[in-house]
Structure formats: structure tokens, C-alpha cells
Subunit: 227 residues, 2 copies
């Protein structure tokens, strides 16, 4: 279940309503009636705004006439990902982390009271954690979320076991800017059978190293690293 920052008042009512419509459709196509029901907008308002978004390719009608997210969002989503300094910078470090740890590796950034997966590489194992790029996950559950909330252990990482999903363990570390602010979380995740119920000591150092490498590659340490 995905939500844009909900019930937020930006000061521009039309944009608040349009964001509510996009958010409602992130879960799948909706008829006008469904959209009205989900967004609590009056029918003519929902119709007018959805049609306007359709004009710009941000929405489209599917073969049943239902409103759905449009192709322009594919391009914007791609541009958003490629424009994120971390997503590009993280790729090599995530590859190394995935290869050295043998487990799936992900990078998350905070989005309101949730986290969004900015980059994700899967391990080669048949049994592996799969998190899609763009997937929205909770903050309070799982090591990546806890890191984004500001938690960090003395060794620079946080581990979790079966917090977000049964059978899954993970280790994450914060990616910080030059002021020490946590801008992302990088980590590995996989089944407890491989990661054990105490995955931190084994995987923590590699995850911390990956976090430093990402911060460096993204130029988050000021002038310390050429970018």
C-alpha cells in the first residue's frame, strides 16, 4: 500500500487533490466512482482533475475506461531515479555489497513517515529477499527503517530479525551527509537460515563500508572526494 504524504495541506488545493488522485491510483486502476470513493472528492471535481492529469499523460484510461497511472509517470519515475545522486552512486557499492555478502542489497530514503526503495539488487539464491525499486515500506519495522529514524549501534549498523516479515533478517547502516544527517539507509536482507538470528557481526562491517562508499561517491562529504 503506497501513499503520498496523506492529508497534507500544501497551500495549493488543486495540487493537494491531484496528489490524492495519483496516490489513490498507485494501488491500481479505479473507475471514476472508485476514485470518488477513495479520495472523498465530489464527482465533478474528481472527473475534472483526473481528465486534466490525463491530458498531460500523468493518467490514462485503461481498456475498461478506468483511470490508471499514465506513461508520463514511467518517464518521470525513471528521471527521478536517475537524477537522484544516491541511486547512481550507490550502484557499484550495492553490487559489491551484494556480491561480498551473497545477499540481496537495497538502498532506502525516507519519504514522510515511510521509506522508499531507491535501488535494489537481488542475490543469486533461489530463496532471497525481493524488494522492488519504488517499493514503499514502513519506517518502524526493519533495520532500514530504524536507521532512517535515527537509530544506529556503536558499530555503525542496526540489525533486525523477523521485524517486518517472518523469516527475514537484515542489517542496515546510515548514509550521512557532511553534517551527519541521515539521507539514506543501505543494507542487506535475506532469510534467517543464512543470515542467522544475529546477522550484525557478520554483515555489519560490509554494510558500513558500503554506506561510506555511497556517501563518498555521492559527494556527501563536501570536498573530500572528487565527484
Amino acid at each position: 500500500m503506497f501513499r503520498l504524504v496523506e492529508h497534507t495541506i500544501s497551500g495549493v488545493g488543486v495540487i493537494d487533490k491531484a496528489a490524492a488522485i495519483l496516490s489513490a491510483l498507485a494501488d491500481g486502476p479505479l473507475s471514476l466512482a472508485g476514485l470518488v470513493s477513495t479520495t472523498d472528492l465530489p464527482r465533478p471535481t474528481a472527473h475534472r482533475l483526473a481528465s486534466a492529469l490525463e491530458t498531460h499523460g500523468l493518467l490514462r484510461r485503461d481498456s475498461d475506461g478506468r483511470f490508471a497511472l499514465g506513461v508520463a509517470l514511467v518517464a518521470l519515475g525513471h528521471a527521478a531515479t536517475s537524477g537522484w545522486p544516491l541511486a547512481e552512486a550507490a550502484h557499484d557499492a550495492l553490487s559489491r555489497l551484494r556480491d561480498r555478502s551473497g545477499e540481496s542489497a537495497q538502498l532506502y530514503v525516507r519519504q514522510g513517515e515511510q521509506r522508499v526503495c531507491l535501488a535494489s539488487l537481488e542475490s543469486e539464491h533461489g530463496l532471497r529477499t525481493i524488494v522492488d525499486t519504488g517499493a514503499v515500506l514502513p519506517l518502524g519495522l526493519g533495520s532500514g527503517g530504524r536507521v532512517l529514524l535515527g537509530e544506529v549501534g556503536p558499530d555503525g549498523w542496526v540489525a533486525s530479525v523477523e521485524e517486518r516479515e517472518p523469516g527475514v533478517a537484515s542489517v542496515s547502516a546510515p548514509v550521512c551527509d557532511s553534517t551527519g544527517r541521515v539521507v539514506a539507509a543501505v543494507g542487506v536482507s535475506g532469510p534467517i537460515q543464512r543470515l542467522t538470528d544475529n546477522p550484525g557481526p557478520v554483515f555489519g562491517p560490509e554494510v558500513v563500508a558500503a554506506a561510506r562508499a555511497i556517501a563518498g561517491a555521492a559527494g556527501l562529504h563536501g570536498h573530500q572526494h572528487a565527484t
Copy 2:
């Protein structure tokens, strides 16, 4: 260079302006001054609307304070792609096409006067065509674009050699709905060295078969195929 449908009047002025802002930022981050310049919006208007989009995560500020596309667009772009019937339906057929042809395979849909890559699988070759999902390409150049404009040869495919990019050849076929309307173009592309300067006869049949498989899997032939 990406553009939302430009200078289109949807009937909701705020959405027209917001779409212009998103479009301007698809090419990369911009300062407020740059945004004002690119969109021709008055400074307070651009500031207000960009801040409102930022509130919803559709935009963000980068480390230099410039406006950039936000993380919410990563999630929406992902949802847009996964919600597109063709993107999911095409995956198996694109895999087979890529494997049998040995070349990169892509699926495009029309977006105004351009095309957007909805799905893309790369070949194993060191020298291969790389088109990112979400990439925006012209309609009039390249076999995929020409197919989306309605062109098709007697054998059901169109070939092009060095139209869009030097050294690149491609073959595409239309994916049609039950009324015969072209809803997408599927094709292979790669270097002339492998595809030759007459790639149609060799690759055309497989591309056409892939187009039919995609249409079937997406349920575009009415009730002929269970979906």
C-alpha cells in the same frame, strides 16, 4: 530530452503549470531562477507551485537547494510501469525474443508526439543497444517509432538501419488491440555488424510472433484468451 505534452490546456490551469514544472525538471535539477526561466511562470507562482509539489514528495530540494524530481515519483513510476498491462504481459515474450534473437528487445508506447520505453531487456553481448525503461525517443526515427505512426510492411514488421543512431539497426512490429489499433511496438535492436543492413527477413518473424504473444497475454483480442 523529455517533455510532457507541451503547451496543452487541460482546463485546470494549476495542473497545466504543475505539469510544466515536472517536465522542466525531468532533464535535471533547476534553481528557482532556472525554473522560472524554463517555464516562463512568474517567480512567486513557480515558487508556490514547486513548494506545493515538494510537500507531496513529487519534488525535493537537492543539496544545493535546487528543485529536483522527488522520491514519490520513483514509487509512482514503478507503479505506473507495473500497472501497465503490456509491461507485465510483455515480460515473458520479451525474454523469449531477446533469447531467440540474441539482441536487446524493447517495448514502446506512444506518448503524444514521442514514444516511451515501457520495458527493455538487454542482450548478453558486450556491444549491445541500451535503452532505459522510461526513456523517451522520437516517433519519426527508428522502426519502433514508425510502427507507432502506423507504418507496417506486408510481413507485419518494419526495419530501420541507422535512422535514430549511427551503427544501430532495428526491427519492430505493432501490438494491436481487437479493433486493429496500434497500442505498442515491440522490437529488437543492435549493431549493424550483427543485424546486417537488412535485418527484417532474419528477425522480423520472431518480432511479429512476439507482438502477437504480447497482445494475447495482455488480453487485447477480446475474449480469445483467458487473462
